[in-house]
Subunit: 452 residues, 2 copies
């Protein structure tokens, strides 16, 4: 049964709800497939189906939906059901949903939780979005250093049902200072009477609670961690971030960078579901700024009006020249932004990369110059060939260097290097290219009044 | 001690190798930090340091290096040491390195392995790059359905040291047909006399051995898997892909897409280490194609030479108009490419998205038209204001629709939608914009020979 068939079955079940049929359907399916198949159901329809599930499955199906979708469904659920569901969700997801509930819904769900859980929700929900605090869960297993392996395994077994992971466990003091970490694999392989202190790794890779999620994801990936512990300002353990949440953060950040690379403000929401007004607002800002940037190109052309009026044929090569500069610049910027984002390149590598870029861009410019100078010759004789070829080398070189340097400059003044988008680089390079090309043409042509 | 200090210590150790000092240095550091700190050491220098480590640590330090770097160091290692190291590496990494060794090196390392391992290396190394087969490991734990939990746990404990993960285990028949899967957590929580068949999940999410790595990574992320089993054409289990390798594949694919989005062919290597000739080749192809694309813009301008000669001031608004179309088109293309890459949008969503884009792009065009028409008025009176405003709406609308549709079209003809890069969209929209703008100007101005 594929997703389309599953969806058809679900549509029927919305019309005639039947608990047993739904469970039979899901017996051989991953619960994520249910969430996917209901993607375009109305919140009411989805709520009807979810209500047929056990509370545990309901919470799990919820976990595969976006937070926006969760909030939409929560809004149409009876208050009591929402409170029950809330108590079943994992701590990090519960806190994210909490942030999207109305004041009234919040009052409905909190009484359903134990005092400690209520505090946990409020605490987790209080961290700013896209920080380690917002990503972390408080469902992790802790041990004490003086315990034996045997005791540790017993405790882990006891606590396992409520923990998001038991495969990496953390050793803390009474005051929750992090002392070490070890894996369940180590525990299973160890002598039962060994102590945790003997086994644990004491130099633990950790992140601060206010760390940016992009950095957190990079640390999880770099060290191949199952989970990374999160410490507060006093170095106390306050949560862990598991690999799956780190992976989601990665994808979110890559999406944002892809959007910024085309001068769209980060949508912060799914492209498919974002409102039209929102989409307009995320795009118009940069477009307006870039229009005014393009005025410089226009002004450059106006400045050289005389030489153009004298030789209108010059305009033929204008798009090709400034376009090539913009394209080479976009290439350099994209390569640099991505290398900075993955941490492959640091600020200190700047000078070496500049040297390399001068060589490569020079070669690119010469190749393009060769290609278009033939065309210049055909269209206007040797003089035009020389103007076009020389301008091409200069424009490509300038464009590439602007593209390479802009992300560094932005990073230096604490802006996201991804803001050095293709359109921004192109706009800057266009204006520069106009001046280089037409300036050069004036220089050559004002000397010799040829028939060009 | 930060990375810079660690590096200084390592430089000293290269000059005077001392096993104990190196181990003391690493006692409180993650082994990945060692690999990082040696990043710019020569292969010879790195080999000297690695030789001071235990074989196990050496293999682990290796695992945090790029394959290119591993191969460079392998080239300067004594044959015997390389063979010993090879036997310690994880099966997937060993196969990747094997693919980068010379014929002579291969002959040196294979005899150090047991017959079964030799076959394993050859088998894993035979899968094409960027497929599930190339990403998978053969170090996973399998169980039989009729075993009890007690027996299963004993076996897992026995096999654990050699397995890449024991947290997700796979249930197979004698002929390696995959029957089910279960987690170590389930095993730990179960009654010791329960059978595996009672506990296992029978509907397992799996991937085919020739599946693209981008798709594999998306499946691991979507279902929050610790590992995904890989099946051959006969549905037999041939390997598993762990979350950390899936995460690396994600980053690799995002990097490639970022490069393609700026018309750079996928580098397939690190930007920092790629050779200048390679970098040139990865960039020149698209630049040349785009130059010839830009000829259409040039030809468009040449076609309207008369109207330009008549009113040179028209050229002032040219960069601004075609630029805006290109920018709006780049935005639409980037949003679409990313949504297709994350699976958020499918081919069937095309029509709905087109409708949305017409509304949003219309609004964007009107806003920009309003902004520039004032300028048109100032510079050339009401007639110019009308030409510029009308052209702006048309160009932005056309540009956006081209940007939105191009990724779909490419995807339809089995090309990577990411090829619809900003520069490509810009080049196509430029030519279209020139024709729309100047054609419109001719229409208006040839009727009324105003003083514009």
């Amino acid at each position: 049964m594929d997703q389309a068939e599953l969806r058809t079955h679900l549509v029927n079940l919305v019309a005639e709800p039947d608990k047993h049929q739904l469970r039979a359907l899901l017996a051989h399916r991953h619960i994520a497939d249910l969430s996917d198949a209901m993607m375009d159901f109305s919140p009411k329809e989805a709520a009807v189906l979810l209500d047929l599930l056990t509370l545990h499955d309901h919470a799990e199906a919820f976990s595969y939906m976006s937070e926006e979708r969760q909030a939409m469904i929560a809004a149409v659920m009876p208050r009591n059901d929402l409170a029950a569901l809330f108590s079943q969700m994992e701590s990090d997801e519960r806190a994210d949903l909490f942030n999207r509930l109305t004041e009234e819904q919040r009052h409905a769900v909190l009484p359903g939780l134990a005092q400690a859980e209520r505090e946990d929700v409020r605490r987790l929900a209080s961290y700013p979005e896209k920080t380690a605090g917002a990503l972390m869960t408080s469902d992790y297993a802790t041990l004490r250093a003086h315990w034996t392996v045997k005791k540790a395994l017993l405790r882990i077994r006891l606590e396992a049902p409520d923990k998001e992971t038991i495969y990496q466990v953390y050793v803390v003091d009474k005051d929750r200072t992090l002392r070490g970490t070890l894996s369940l694999k180590q525990l299973i392989l160890a002598r039962p009477d060994a102590t945790i202190a003997e086994l644990m790794l004491t130099d633990v890779v950790s992140v601060a609670v206010d760390e940016d999620q992009e950095k957190v994801a990079e640390i999880v990936r770099h060290y191949d961690l199952l989970a990374v512990p999160v410490l507060d300002a006093e170095q106390k353990l306050v949560g862990i971030i598991t690999y799956d949440d780190a992976m989601d953060a990665f994808v979110e950040e890559a999406t944002e960078d892809a959007q910024k690379s085309a001068s769209v403000a980060a949508l912060g929401s799914s492209f498919k579901n974002i409102g039209l007004g929102q989409l307009y607002l995320k795009r118009i800002g940069w477009l307006l700024m870039l229009v005014f940037g393009a005025l410089f190109s226009g002004a450059g052309i106006a400045f050289f009006e005389d030489i153009i009026a004298q030789q209108v044929a010059l305009v033929f090569f204008l798009p090709l020249l400034v376009g090539s500069g913009g394209n080479a610049g976009s290439q350099a910027a994209a390569l640099m932004i991505r290398a900075l984002a993955t941490g492959e390149v640091q600020m200190r590598d700047w000078l070496g990369l500049l040297g390399r870029e001068i060589i490569v861009a020079g070669a690119l410019g010469l190749t393009l110059a060769l290609a278009v100078s033939a065309l210049g010759w055909l269209r206007g004789g040797p003089e035009v060939a020389v103007i076009v070829a020389a301008a091409m080398v200069c424009v490509v070189l300038t464009g590439s260097l602007i593209g390479l340097c802009l992300p560094f400059v932005l990073s230096k003044i604490k802006l996201d290097p991804a803001t050095a988008s293709g359109p921004l680089v192109t706009t800057i390079v266009d204006a520069t290219g106009v001046i280089i090309y037409l300036g050069f043409a004036q220089l050559v042509l004002s000397g010799s009044h040829s028939l060009f």
